[in-house]
């Protein structure tokens, strides 16, 4: 009997308990369920907004710094110097980090919201409080629903906004980069290092902290400015960076001439054997070019004081007819600034001892030949055997003519294979073939039909055993001009055999800003493509 009584009591107790729970659910939970859902959804939405929008500012959100530009957030750095140590643009990397942080913190907040439920899973507590737990569960569900919907909407909005901004930003960067490149290409702008002779269209620029930025074009590091690791801004595009930052050689890191990379850059190496008259031609041509530039209201000045001194001495030696032998140790570069109106340019001429053009191996280290858009090959007529036999009749004649030690084609044949081996685009290079020492030659019968006219010079060369040189030059180079020059008398632009002619022809083809030609001599070219 006691067992029966106990069973009855238990059934009564359970029934009472279930009745109380049902009453609680019916009279307390159910009437407020709708309100709970409403309040939960609003709370969830507000909470999601706060959690997501505060995520980027959280202390534990990763920050991509200038040292992370080679990290996994960016594509592999370009070869060479790699990516500059500058702060990456927000849209290039940090935006993705921040979106990731928002999603992560959102998930974390939801997890934290549901974690107290674990305590309620205790069977005894659940048994006692399940009606109340249902209310809490309902509230949590509502909060979660509000938070998830709001969170997804906010993330979608943020991702869409950032993607659109990145598209616009990328397009603006590409446009700016293209405009800068086109402007510089139109001006034939480049930078030639006077130390290692490396030529580039993209010089580096040093920040005030000393760090050299090797690629200042608009990129993932910024469209309008790159922010150096030290925090200082570096203007993007070569044109803007060149205004107030010193250009640096990307190869040897030496400081380049001001304007390098921004101004028109014309490099004219002069090839020829020993004693051909290369140095005389350079100084006489530069002096004639300077006179014409000044007469036209422009300038032509050596960049450095040492160059100016060398230029003055060289011109004096040419006028006096006693030019010193060029040292075989190292090629000599002379950099001049040429201005005409608002246009400015750098003109590099390179003079190397003739010994360096005697064999293919000797030309190996002549880096100034690389990427020179224009070249001069000096032809000493007295080194042509046929001419020498007829004109040089004794030691006095030889002393006066000082003929080159090798025939004209030797320097050409030693240099052109080297240029090809080093990948020079000869099909984009102009060549001036200059017959020098005209003042000593034109009075001899062998030069009776030689006039300072391109066709006449070309024909004369072909008629006197230089047809192979002519054919090779016209085959190898984009355009070939023929000139008859006297460096001894040709430092005046008006001279019949002015040394200005080949230099001006090449300079004009290199877009060097020059005044209109004043000389009566019309400088033309043979072998130019139609």
């Amino acid at each position: 009997m006691p067992q029966v009584a106990l069973a009855v009591l238990a059934v009564l107790g359970i029934t009472a308990y279930l009745g109380l729970c049902a009453a609680f659910l019916w009279f307390v939970v159910w009437p407020f369920a709708g309100w709970l859902v409403l309040v939960g959804v609003v709370l969830g939405a507000l909470g999601a907004l706060v959690v997501l929008l505060s995520a980027p500012f959280a202390a534990d959100t990763d920050l991509l710094t200038a040292d992370d530009v080679d990290g996994p957030w960016f594509p592999p750095a370009p070869p060479g110097h790699g990516r500059d140590r500058a702060w990456p643009h927000y849209l290039a990397g940090q935006a993705r980090v921040d979106v990731g942080a928002m999603a992560r913190r959102g998930r974390g907040a939801l997890g934290a919201l549901w974690s107290p439920l674990g305590g309620l899973l205790n069977p005894r507590a659940w048994l006692a409080l399940w009606p109340l737990g249902i209310a809490g569960f309902l509230l949590l569900l509502a909060v979660t629903a509000g938070a998830v919907v709001t969170g997804v909407a906010v993330l979608a909005l943020v991702v869409t906004g950032l993607a659109l901004a990145a598209l616009v930003w990328g397009a603006a960067g590409r446009l700016l980069r293209t405009v800068d490149a086109l402007l510089r290409r139109r001006n034939r702008a480049a930078a030639r290092c006077p130390y290692c002779f490396w030529r580039t269209t993209l010089p580096g620029y040093a920040c005030a902290c000393g760090l050299v930025h090797h690629d200042v074009r608009p990129s993932r590091l910024g469209v309008l400015v790159h922010r150096c690791r030290c925090g200082r801004p570096m203007p993007t595009t070569v044109s803007r960076a060149g205004r107030d930052h010193a250009p640096r050689c990307p190869q040897c890191d030496e400081v380049l001439e001001d304007g390098s990379g921004v101004w028109t850059d014309v490099s004219i190496p002069v090839l020829g054997p020993v004693s051909a008259g290369k140095t005389s031609l350079i100084y006489a041509g530069l002096e004639a070019l300077r006179r014409q530039a000044v007469a036209g209201g422009g300038t032509l000045e050596p960049r450095r004081e040492a160059d100016a001194e060398r230029f003055r001495e060289g011109v004096e030696q040419v006028r006096a007819g006693r030019v010193a032998k060029t040292e075989a140790a190292a090629p000599v570069g002379l950099v001049c600034t040429v201005t005409q109106g608002r246009r400015r340019a750098l003109l590099h001429t390179f003079d190397a001892a003739g010994e360096l053009f005697s064999t293919r191996s000797a030309t190996e280290d002549l880096r100034f030949l690389d990427e020179a858009g224009q070249m001069i090959v000096v032809v000493d007529p007295f080194s042509i055997p046929e001419v020498a036999d007829e004109v040089l009749r004794g030691p006095a004649d030889e002393a006066e003519a000082a003929p080159a030690v090798d025939p004209p084609e030797v320097a050409y044949e030693a240099t052109v294979p080297r240029l090809r081996d080093f990948g020079a685009r000869l099909d984009r290079t102009d060549l001036a073939v200059v017959v020098v020492k005209a003042d000593l030659l034109v009075d001899h019968p062998i030069a009776a039909d030689l006039r300072p006219d391109p066709l006449a010079v070309r024909r004369w060369l072909c008629d006197h055993g230089q047809d192979q040189l002519v054919v090779a030059a016209e085959r190898d180079f984009a355009a070939v001009g023929y000139f008859l020059v006297s460096s001894h008398t040709g430092w005046e632009p008006e001279d019949r055999h002015t040394a200005l002619a080949p230099l001006r022809w090449l300079a004009e083809r290199g877009r060097l800003p020059l005044p209109p030609a004043r000389t009566a001599l019309t400088v033309g070219a043979v072998g130019e493509p139609a």
């Binding site: 009437p31 709708g34 907004l49 980027p56 920050l63 927000y90 906010v154 943020v158 922010r227 925090g231």
Partner: protein
Amino acid sequence: MSPPPAHVRAFRAALVVLVLLVVLVALWQAPWDGIVAALDPWVDGLRRQVYL
């Protein structure tokens, strides 16, 4: 960890302002009359349940 530089802070602030602006505009432009009309029966039902 070093504090984020000014340009990062500025972009993040712009992001927050953009989202808040969109939320405000969404709330401002939402068809509240329709929403209230749609919820009215449900709210009435809630009221009746509470005052039952």
